[in-house]
């Protein structure tokens, strides 16, 4: 079983938005980055499938040089090798561009299963995985909470809205987008970190002539839909004032 996991490097949860002067992208120099959380669950699922069925886990990422950091982290958690579509222009690329860059690099590898997170915590288009399936010409299923492999087929538990689920099965090769919480994440061990240093990361150039399908005209802080009463003061004082307002002003206590 040859499994690919597509991961993205995104700003950390604690990152405070700072924009470039033309307000069309973030100031990357001010951001620290980490592995996109849903992709971390996809990686974990791939490692578990390999432990059960044998084979190889290849971690794939498209982005500037900095993404090697998350590829290396995935290798430390147990992935076998890395594939990096290396281009500075991919930092702010839209989902379809990323899908084309990945498809170009992954096509010849003939993966049996491709896993990725259901969406990225940066641009959040929720398109890359599904578009990649189309470009690779393989079936896909999204928002997956369980994966079973048997006899050249994959049976997956797909999350529907409002607490509903559905089992869907299809032949491999197939692509699945993984929902956060499908499993419990493992972290890299010291041994894993040492081993990762010797693992291969192959860098490839993106295909020529990638054109964006969406351009960012501007980025801005969201406008408030409500006037928020911000309560100041120390904890005890703020708590007392909040309770007073909920009781007397909002009348909800």
């Amino acid at each position: 079983m040859k499994i690919a996991v597509c991961i993205k490097q995104v700003p950390t949860r604690e990152w405070q938005p700072r924009l470039t002067d033309d307000r069309t992208w973030i100031r990357e120099a001010d951001a620290s980055f980490e592995m996109n959380e849903p992709d971390a669950y996809a990686l974990e699922e791939a490692l578990r499938l390999r432990e059960k069925h044998g084979g190889e886990v290849v971690v794939c990422s498209a982005g500037p040089a900095r993404v090697q950091q998350v590829i290396r982290e995935a290798l430390a958690r147990g992935a076998d090798r890395g594939l990096h579509v290396d281009d500075a222009g991919l930092a702010a690329a839209d989902g379809f561009v990323v899908a084309q860059a990945l498809a170009h690099a992954m096509r010849d590898e003939q993966f049996d299963l491709v896993l990725t997170g259901l969406q990225s915590d940066d641009q959040g288009h929720a398109q890359t995985g599904v578009a990649l399936a189309e470009l690779l010409g393989i079936p896909h299923s999204t928002i997956i909470m369980d994966v079973e492999l048997a006899d050249g087929r994959v049976r997956v538990k797909r999350e529907l809205e409002g607490g509903w689920f559905q089992w869907v099965s299809m032949p491999t090769p197939a692509l699945l987008t993984i929902q956060s919480g499908i499993n419990q994440l493992r972290y890299a061990t010291l041994k894993g970190i040492m081993a990762a240093k010797k693992k291969e990361i192959r860098s490839v150039a993106p295909p020529a002539g990638l054109a964006s399908s969406l351009t960012i005209v501007s980025l801005a802080l969201p406008s408030k839909s409500k006037q928020t009463v911000l309560i100041e003061g120390g904890p005890a004082q703020a708590a007392a004032e909040l309770v007073r307002r909920l009781r007397e002003e909002a009348r909800v206590l």
Binding site: H125, E161, G181, S213, A220, L221, P222, L253
Partner: protein
């Protein structure tokens, strides 16, 4: 023409399809709407009665049960034939499942999770959240093809649909039909929803900021003092710190209590869609830039581990 792709399951129209109609009406500068209903049925009839546009019921055996492959083939066929300026749908889990494949097949842009529309005609741009709702992006689709737009649930109001004279349904066959490689089993619910949070008048909800399972007790004490139900954002339930039937958001329950107290919840959109209809929203969070404050009526920026016990004491002493 703007083409709205409605969603139905077993003939029942997904309510969010009305929101897509509202979005399409807002961006239509006098041009007509077409409403496509894959699978047809009663849902098509309902839309026709509202008189919001020409209703096309797309009737094909491959569409009886949803699969992404059959939907992509059939809807791509209709788009190629009817050449709409824009295609609009609701950003449901089903749309998330097939719209990216549809856009990739047609080599056309997909603008997902749209919360607003600016301008008209070729100059139309769209507003959508990025970076977990910390920023809003104005984006412009590129190329000549019709952009596919999926509207965030709750961003456009179903009750703002402008109705007209009832129309009739035109049933069309699928020009392109694909046998799906997928076998689909019947939908099911994991466990009986033991708790119907939709009925709760007050809710205290916890998020990642609570940090550890043994800290949830401070939220539970506040809930008890307020006469509130306890609830949580997704990561808390994923960790097993509270049962799944306490989860609020797109994959959990949707609530609109009198008061919703969000403790250490940053306010990712998947959570906001489940609670932003609450009458009074209170947010306590250490991060002043957390998106939860955009929907909060009252906010305290600070340490919930200090503020929440103080609130509990304050409420208890005034009983």
């Amino acid at each position: 023409m703007i083409l709205v792709v409605a969603e139905q399951r077993g003939g029942t129209l997904n309510r969010a399809s009305w929101e897509a109609v509202t979005c399409a009406q807002q961006m239509a500068a006098g041009e007509p709407l077409g409403i496509l209903v894959p699978g047809g049925g009663n849902a098509a009839q309902q839309l026709a009665e509202a008189g919001v546009g020409d209703v096309l019921a797309l009737d094909d055996a491959s569409l009886a049960t949803y699969t992404p492959d059959a939907y992509v083939a059939a809807v791509a066929g209709v788009i190629a034939e009817t050449t709409p300026r824009v295609v609009v749908m609701a950003h449901t889990y089903q749309a998330r499942d097939y719209a990216p494949r549809l856009a990739a097949r047609l080599r056309t842009p997909l603008v997902a999770d749209v919360i607003g529309v600016k301008g008209t005609g070729a100059a139309t741009t769209y507003l959508r959240p990025m970076f977990q709702g910390k920023l809003v992006a104005e984006v412009a689709p590129q190329g000549d093809g019709p952009a596919i737009v999926s509207c965030q649930i709750g961003a456009f109001r179903a009750d703002k649909v402008v109705r007209g004279a009832a129309a009739s349904v035109r049933t069309i066959g699928a020009a392109a039909s694909a046998a799906s490689p997928q076998t689909v089993e019947a939908p099911f619910q994991e466990a009986r929803q033991a708790v119907d949070l939709g009925q709760a008048e007050r809710i205290v909800a916890v998020g990642r900021g609570i940090k550890a399972q043994d800290q949830i007790v401070i939220a539970e004490r506040l809930a008890t003092a307020m006469g509130a139900e306890i609830a949580a954002s997704r990561p808390i339930c994923d960790n097993g710190w509270l049962p799944m039937d306490r989860q609020i958001g797109s994959s959990g329950q949707t609530v609109a209590p009198k008061v919703y107290v969000a403790l250490g919840i940053s306010g990712a959109i998947q959570h906001l869609v489940g609670m932003k209809g609450s009458r009074v929203i209170v947010a306590i969070n250490k991060d002043a830039d957390a998106p939860i404050f955009e929907v909060a009526d009252y906010g305290v920026v600070g340490d919930l581990f200090e503020i929440v016990p103080a609130m509990t004491t304050e409420i208890e002493k005034q009983r």
